[in-house]
Amino acid sequence: MAMLEVEIWRGEGGDGAWRRYAVPHEANQTVLDVVTHVQRYLDPSLAYRFACRVGMCGSCAMSVNGRPRWTCRTHVSRAARKGRLRIGPLRNLPVIRDLAVDMAPFFEKWRDAEARFIPSKEPPEEPVRPDEPERMAADAGIECINCAVCYAACDSVAWNPDYPGPAVLNRLWTLANDRRDGDRDGHLDAAGAGCHLCRSHQECADACPTGLNPTAAIAGLKREVFRRALGGRARGPRQ
């Protein structure tokens, strides 16, 4: 049977090292299957995180051969290079142990930006049509599964501790375009504090497992923030 040469990051907190494992290669095998094989048959102390295994929950993201990926939907045949896999924890987040990162900073930024739906006091006077431009702009970004793959792929996150990251800004853009939301100004104020830190590398869009384009969403936020700043409205937390 063909074997995969697998290297997995082992360690707690900031300390650790790559450890090698030989894992049998099977048809239609996913990277998560490989990690699970190691944990079940080779080293039960391996820490990693997964839940749904079908690309919905967003909990199994890891760094695979240097790229952040959702491991449950990434086939070994697509990710391996010459039968080799190097599997590590996501970048830009503190490591708890082995492949499990602390997602708290990711969600804390989400909370701090109040990137959540805030119902309007009055229902929209006009019914929301699925083909109106705002709704289509919002729909383009709603399939986010909060997996933090974009957050790990983003250099601006690595370079700026206060940058909210692609996922949060993408969410703010969907909310700003949702006519049922009651706090468009608040969402754009939150975006104004950080969206300019996006350098349009488009690593998030390349990496997003559900095919979203946060860079395009952030470009929309930049346009609005620019327009509002010239119109005299440029609130937002001072840095």
């Binding site: 240097g66 790229r67 250099d155 350098r199 349009s200 590398h201 488009q202 690593e203 390349d206 384009n213 395009a216 470009a219 930049k222 346009r223 620019f226």
Partner: protein, 108 residues
């Protein structure tokens, strides 16, 4: 691993930093124009192949920062386009063209 947009960003940033460093010296030299002889002194010093090549480099940096900046403005303020790679290629190509144009003019 890095793709086109990342390299476009890097060139845009490095050219910007280089121009920011160059700018005060550029202004200082031009400020000498009140005394023509001193400005001519500096300009005579620049009249050799190596300085001309360095100046061509500055022209490329300026053109690179311009086309890279137009790319960013288009990306942020224009309609989103998936033709990023071709825009990057056009930006880089025009910048190189400006550099060759300078060399052709300077050594004509």
């Amino acid at each position: 691993m890095r793709r086109g947009p990342w390299w476009a960003f890097l060139l845009h940033r490095l050219s910007g930093v280089a121009l920011a460093v160059f700018l005060p010296f550029h202004f200082l030299v031009l400020g000498l124009a009140v005394e023509r002889a001193r400005l001519d002194g500096v300009l005579d010093w620049t009249d050799n192949v190596w300085v001309k090549l360095a100046e061509a480099g500055l022209v490329v940096l300026l053109a690179l920062h311009l086309t890279g900046g137009l790319r960013v403005l288009l990306l942020e303020f224009g309609r989103w386009s998936d033709r990023q790679q071709s825009r990057i290629a056009v930006a880089g190509g025009l910048a190189l063209l400006a550099g060759f144009g300078f060399l052709a003019a300077a050594f004509a």
